[in-house]
Symmetry: C2
Subunit: 288 residues, 2 copies
Amino acid sequence: MTARMLASKPIVQKLKAEIREEAERRARGGAPPGLAVILAGSDGPSKAYALSKESAARSLGIAFTLHRFGDGAEEAEITARIRELNSDPAVHGVMLELPLPKRLNAARVIAAIDPDKDVDGVTAESRGRLLQGRLDETLLPVTPLSCLTLIESAGIDIAGKNVAVVGRGETVGLPLAVLLIKRSATVTVCHSKTADLKGVLKRSDVVVTAAGQAGMIKADMLSQGQAVIDAGITVLPDGTLAGDVEKRAAEAVSWLTPVPGGVGSLTVTLLMKNLLKAMGLQGAGRAA
Amino acid sequence: MTARMLASKPIVQKLKAEIREEAERRARGGAPPGLAVILAGSDGPSKAYALSKESAARSLGIAFTLHRFGDGAEEAEITARIRELNSDPAVHGVMLELPLPKRLNAARVIAAIDPDKDVDGVTAESRGRLLQGRLDETLLPVTPLSCLTLIESAGIDIAGKNVAVVGRGETVGLPLAVLLIKRSATVTVCHSKTADLKGVLKRSDVVVTAAGQAGMIKADMLSQGQAVIDAGITVLPDGTLAGDVEKRAAEAVSWLTPVPGGVGSLTVTLLMKNLLKAMGLQGAGRAA
């Protein structure tokens, strides 16, 4: 039996329609959503990511501004711009393309972002609100949100399910584990030191991998009935993309997200959804 | 075979000697460590906890101030005092006895504490730094720290070990799980919705319980070879204290923490250790 593919495309279409409608409503009310993206240095992929956000924003009726800094930019210039954007009422989301050039202190630059405008969920304050269970008051990082959205798209209620998260990184694995625990899954976090990865995976109802090691999850480590969410993306030498799960695992499980076309293809849309949530936080916080 | 008891007493004695020495060194340098505890309302246990901190602080050469607010105190009065303490160079740690009276917004009061003085590790910023893996730059909540200290006192290297955390609360279970993952344990977080608690516990090398349900962990759910850390504390109708693990489980496992005399008996001392760490953070942060 071949797994049902959990592709992002239908979810993206549905979400975009909702976001466009809400953005139009906001614009009619005099406050079109505004997203500011900061791009520092000349890292190639970062520029492409910023441009894909610009294109998505414009197609959804969201005002987009790109703030570029050269390779020689000072930390203080960037943090000063972030503070301007924090206090600009036309800007509701501030996103920093990462990684920053190495000579900049990323932690200090990130800390300058207003948590209520932190649409990428990268500040310590945003992460802390997640750990405190204040899910309505925080902006969640988009890759874990994408994983959760794909699990739900399979019609799976994860409360009480055994979920294995492979990878304990700060961008995906750890915040995702916390999010799944809040949703009442029984979560096991696996990583390079895990003694019996296959045993943990075999016992799981849902497996989410965010290890970034192409093909490391083999078909014989998985089982029929499982939903497997692959958040790993590796660029192979021939330029194609590969996930953490080997291709032929599609025969071994019941649901599988493709790479590309799965977790990664939802993130830009979820960023725009976070922008609308951020507008709500700013309205609530500033009215109080 | 009866479990070896992992009692706090010898650890407390060792830590106290180290803290006293460091406090004396700081005092000779002109900056004795200073701890401020805020007690709002007339919750009985909170007053007793504050007094036990005062007694511990004084015995260790730590300057202690208690800031009392009556049942009718306004939120703004308390946050104003916290901000004064934040900017007082003689105060290195600010701790709020919880719970606050119900009519106060605890999240807003907690948010007023300077994260570098947050010796109880309760602010979103402190929790976020933990999730971001910035362990040297954050103050960790003392109950999870106590659990980790007791595991280490059994001579167990938890890297690669299977650890079950029973309970997903924001004070103990969740931050402890993150801390253990950072230490390379393979962690499974269990809670009321977990389908097969016994199965998870049986497969674990270390079990930490923080459920707060007296005796819910039975001997037949555990195994020889395991270390069991009981962070549950329930006051029974007869006034005695009980942990989450039933007493006769001591026959079933290899190490067990007593209740009382285990996890809870280490926390006040670890708070003082956090105070010294806070002094380091303030020195580092403010010199930069």
